[in-house]
Subunit: 351 residues, 2 copies
DNA sequence: TTTGGCACTCTCACGCCACGAGTGCCAGCC
DNA sequence: GGCTGGCACTCGTGGCGTGAGAGTGCCAAA
């Protein structure tokens, strides 16, 4: 609670303790710590310091005669002030960027690869949100006749994203007829941000009503329907969930179940990721810090990724709170950068 | 091993035993069984029969003084010969078909809904393979220019499926130019089965070479690329995995981990589903029967679903071997039918 | 062929105990 | 004043033995 300056020795001991706990997974006692620390201090002295740290709420003893374990506040302080990052293995970076480059022909592929890489390189679960399409502009609208009074509507965005929906319609349309609508609307709407298309359409409908231009009205109606169906469905790709099964720290089955339910719902995790909006760099949620229950015992390391200089999504890793932050944080950071780079194609001529 | 006729009484007892074990999850002893069976037989008699059943490999005693538990062979016989199906709750069927109808505007939605329904109604994990596109016919090809030497290729199938890929190209193309290619190729290829398009293209290229029709060659090259990228990627939608976490029967963590890894790999499960090809109806794999390890302790209930009278995919449920087959089997069956119906739109006028 | 009886086996839960690890505190030392 | 060694105390863990309960196999009688 109270945070007096916390002298240097205490900081070093806290750091050593957290590092030790992260690597060993066992509550660490004064004797152990006295051996692992550069100032050679006796266990007794260390006990005194530990008592202080405990009073400050930074560490905690599971029971009377166990060593100490960092509390969430302890982790927080460790990460904010004491953590020394480990630079990434160069081979890993090469591997990562290679895989991303290879997947760059399809947006979906790219996202999935990034997610898999995150999980693979950390041995935890990797998350990547699909990029937001808010600012994408419409370039083309196509209608294709299907059998049985159905029309396929295809919306093409300027960034190569394609949305399509099958629309039930009240009568049969010929291919020619639909082609006319397509051309008409593409011309009318091309270059508009998708989010603003609806307004334009409504305005257009008003105009048209007076003209009684049936063809145009049909087309507009179809487009309205297509847009309706093409709701943005913000989505999240999760990989490597199985890495979390049977992790010592996840021993609690009920907790694990809640975590996996959260993975299926996705919604709450998405929401949590969105929260890190303001922050530019890597964001860290430790345990239930976020107020989001299912993550108890876990930490979420997240970072936004950019396309054309604009934040379009987030990616990250979920693992046990006791994770090697010094490796994971840089990895999430670099992955976000590489994914952004892969999505904003400059002239990287391949072929 | 040897399967002598197995007299009626033994059958009834086996049936009662399996049912009891499925509902209670505890090895069932002779006393329990003597109470639960219509012929009132003494426990001693039942013990004799049970000894026979054990000799036949149909049941098994975890240890000397525990009751008996069905073996895989026991389950098999139970399912093949003794099981009496329970008819579905009408509310469930209504719910199921309602949800499917509601999702029928998009193929992807439909598959996901079916999978979710399966998991939701069984409380286990639901699986649905994406429909095979083998026999789909191409109706249209579109090329759309993107920024930075990229072209978006869109392939539209006659069933409303849309595939799209971003292609890196070696020079810039104008919209008009691409539109010409699109028209040309759409005309050339429309109505072809996607799987045969490649042949046609190759033949076409030969013809064209002699004509030196550059435009056509460009177009063909683009299409080739698009087809290359649009590999069928047979995929599987899995829902409700979290239902399996913490299920008593799944107590073995290592096993559960393997199961979840299988869920992520998907490939092997897909392969397993494909195996049920020949069978028209519901197929059941009990435990590791399939020779596929990660399913040990689990059963897979699967059925093919049809579109326009043709098998295009499979769906099913994975749960503990000790599952209520009498409910799950009919559910998988009806879900397959309903999904098929939802995908083969006849005149079900809604709207 | 079925049944009651009986001895046997095995698991499970419980209590007990000794062990080890680690602590808190205190008195003495630098 | 801060550091240290010593000491008593606490608590979780694992091994062991025991008793209860469940269920079996077998045998002899109906």
């Amino acid at each position: 609670m109270s945070l007096p300056p916390l002298n240097e020795r205490a900081q070093h001991l806290l750091k050593a303790l957290v590092e030790r706990y992260i690597s060993e997974g066992v509550p660490v006692g004064s004797r152990t710590l006295s051996q692992a620390t550069p100032f050679s201090l006796s266990p007794a002295t260390i006990r005194n310091v530990m008592a202080d740290l405990e009073a400050m709420g930074l560490i905690h003893a599971p029971h009377t005669s166990a060593g100490r374990v960092p509390t969430i506040q302890g982790y927080r302080l460790f990460i904010n002030q004491l953590l020394t990052m480990r630079s990434l293995d160069e081979g890993q970076v090469d591997f990562l960027s290679g895989e991303l480059r290879q997947a760059s022909s399809s947006r979906q592929q790219l996202i999935e690869t990034a997610s898999q890489m995150l999980s693979h390189l950390t041995r935890f679960a990797g998350l990547v949100t699909l990029p937001r399409r808010e600012h994408a502009r419409l370039t083309q609208i196509e209608f294709v006749p299907l059998s049985g009074r159905r029309v396929l509507a295809i919306l093409v965005m300027d960034d190569g994203e394609v949305q399509n929906r099958v629309l039930p319609v009240s009568r049969d349309y010929s291919g020619n007829e639909l082609r006319k609508y397509s051309a008409l609307l593409s011309e009318q709407l091309a270059g508009q941000e998708a989010s603003r298309v609806r307004e334009t359409l409504l305005a257009e409908m008003d105009k048209v009503r007076s003209d009684l231009n049936t063809l145009m009205r049909e087309a507009i109606q179809l487009t309205e329907q297509a847009l309706d169906a093409a709701t943005p469905e913000p989505d999240l790709v999760i990989s490597g969930q199985s890495n979390l099964v049977g992790l010592e720290d996840m021993s609690n089955l009920a907790r694990m179940k809640r975590l996996f339910e959260a993975f299926e719902t996705k919604r709450d995790i998405l929401h949590l990721l969105d929260q890190s909006e303001r922050a530019e760099g890597v964001q860290i949620f430790i345990g239930g810090e976020s107020g989001y229950d299912p993550l108890e015992g876990c930490s979420l390391i997240a970072a936004p990724y950019h396309e054309q200089g604009r934040v379009v999504g987030y990616l990250g890793v979920i693992g046990p709170t006791r994770m090697p932050y010094d490796r994971v944080i840089p990895l999430v950071d670099i992955t976000a950068r590489l994914l952004g780079a892969a999505m904003s194609p400059t002239l990287e001529s391949e072929l």
